[in-house]
């Protein structure tokens, strides 16, 4: 699981039928700088990714997403997914120690 910020969504006209019920969101992964509030707009240097979402995440929301084969685990049939949103974040706290560990 990683923290990401939703920065957009993707609409498909033709898609694998297994994707019905959800949609695709564009996610900016949040690194230490973004989580500490040192980069308020939340656009990180990391690769932007596309994730499947059936929770209703909207632009600007912070989410938890999972990458990897486990992303298709919620489905009872095989789907070609490797990133999925798993939770909408209400609040989080991120405070690394000030001088290393």
């Amino acid at each position: 699981m990683k923290v990401g910020k939703v920065i957009g969504n993707i609409t498909l006209s033709h898609a694998d039928s297994g994707f019905r019920g959800g949609r695709f969101i564009v996610v900016a992964p949040q690194g230490a700088k973004e989580l500490s509030g040192k980069n308020p707009d939340g656009y990180s240097d990391a690769w932007t990714l596309v994730a499947y979402d059936n929770l209703g995440a909207g632009a600007g929301d912070d989410i938890l997403y999972v990458e990897g084969a486990e992303a298709m685990q919620p489905f009872d049939y095989r789907t070609p997914l490797d990133a999925i949103s798993v939770a909408l974040i209400d609040t989080f706290r991120y405070e690394p120690p000030k001088s290393g560990a």
Partner: protein, 86 residues
Amino acid sequence: MILARIDGHVVTSIGHPSLKAQKIVLCTPINEHGADAGAPFAALDPIGAGQHTRVFITTDGSWTQNTLHDVTSPIRNQVLGLVDAR
């Protein structure tokens, strides 16, 4: 398995049903000297690790499906233990 330091937590109310009543922590991977070694990530914390403690974390989704008793859970990361000494 990843060596990491607990740096915070996440509060969530809407999510995959397998996350219900689970504590979720934010961790930073660390190297053998305790220095940061990568981007922060989230993990389930069934053992209640405190802030800034060192832990080791599994990224095995099938193990987490076992402990959550839910084969539909997409969750991978879970705190397995606290590091006393290395």
